[in-house]
Amino acid sequence: MKRFLTLLKNEGKLSIRDMNMVIFALIMPLAVLIVLGILYGRRPAFEGAPYSFMAQSFGALCAISICAGGLMGLPLVVADYRERRILKRFRVTPASPALLLGVELTVYMLYCAASMLLLTAVAVPVWGVRPGGPLPAFLGAWALTMLSTLSIGLMVGALAKNSRQAGVIASVLYFPMLIFSGTTLPVEVMPAALQRIVALFPLTQGITLMKQTFLGLETQGALTPVAVMVLVTAVCTGLAVRFFRWE
């Protein structure tokens, strides 16, 4: 445990020093929140809606940091450590791949949690955003979305040949998901055909579920997104640990 915490402390410090994630996972979601807040204020999501536009957007805003950490930060840091032969150095120590991947995973989970708390700290007092459903349901949906997305990043990082390859794969995953999974553009405004394609992204499933649980809407058919996300998490994490490349 001491190993884990020491590595976590150091890797966390290094990540903050690097600033990329501070910008993309903490500042960016907050900026989007503030812009939306200025535009929509406390207005309802639509005529006669029982919840505000801001409350409707809250789940998706929480997904920005998940997306940034899981599809950019995590795969790139693991691939970079491989390319710089830092993993090679770890390989001749008693450290296991699971320890290293677990530490990096935790760093990015902490970013996601910090981002959610930051969004809450602003959205609740300023625009009166309140969850309409039970909080544990929303937190469960959030945790599942985070774990499934981060596990994809873990797999890319663990298996990519070099950081260039990881960068390409990360971009291919990151930008479509950021744009089309409902993080920035609501899924509801997309044409039906596109909706069906983006439904395959685990992040889309996660955001829809977060939105429903946050607003306290009917979550019928929640089984499918939950099953998709659990499956993605299990498969990607398993592959990452099993086929981890040190060099």
């Binding site: 001491k2 190993r3 020491t6 590595l7 150091n10 410090k13 290094l14 020093r17 690097d18 450590y81 710089r84 032969r85 830092i86 090679k88 150095r89 770890f90 390989r91 001749v92 120590t93 008693p94 450290a95 296991s96 040190w246 060099e247």
Partner: protein, 242 residues
Amino acid sequence: MENAIEVRGLTKRYDGRAVVNGLHLTVRRGTVFGLLGANGAGKSTSIECMLGTRKAESGTVRLLGQDPGRNRRALMERIGVQFQEGDYQQEIRVEELCEETACLYRNHADWRALLRRFGLGEKERSAVRSLSGGQRQRLFIVLALIPQPELVFLDELTTGLDARARREIWQLLASLRDQGLTILLTSHFMDEVEALCDEICILRRGNAVFTGTVEEAKAHCGCTDFEDAYLMLSEDEKGENA
């Protein structure tokens, strides 16, 4: 007591070409062993195969009596390694790198004391990338010693160090050897090899062409100067130092 390193018939090929060809070597505990040869002779590859970070085509390796491919983590508690091209996280500081390395081992050394012994006591809070080449080299030797190893691999021991720093490192290593540490090193400096190594093995294109003591190498070649003997032995048939 068993030997610290036993290598039997180690062969490693890249694209069909044998980079290490049937290497045999034995390193007794508490001795310093020099693995020598020109660039590309197979020194680093041999070390990586011994450590199990590269898979050899054939041959067996025993480190401290154990197979490095099995029960690896327990074995790695007892071994320190300094690779030729060690690297580190871009923004990391000296103390963070030491702490991060120390936390991986159950019985680690007091790394602050090690830093002081290697003349880096003032550099604890510095970024690793701001160190000079020689300071960084010393830091990587410190990292290899943090596990309080029984066996340490030092690839290109004192490259980038000035004459005084090299002498200091030799003294430190000799005193560690006298306390029972086994050292396998590679080096391009024959004065260093002569000062430190109890036994040497010279590689030429992946083949061991000489194994024995420095004195034996000189006698073998009829030279009074070890560097002359080394050059004679490591030179290949075409007369090039390949």
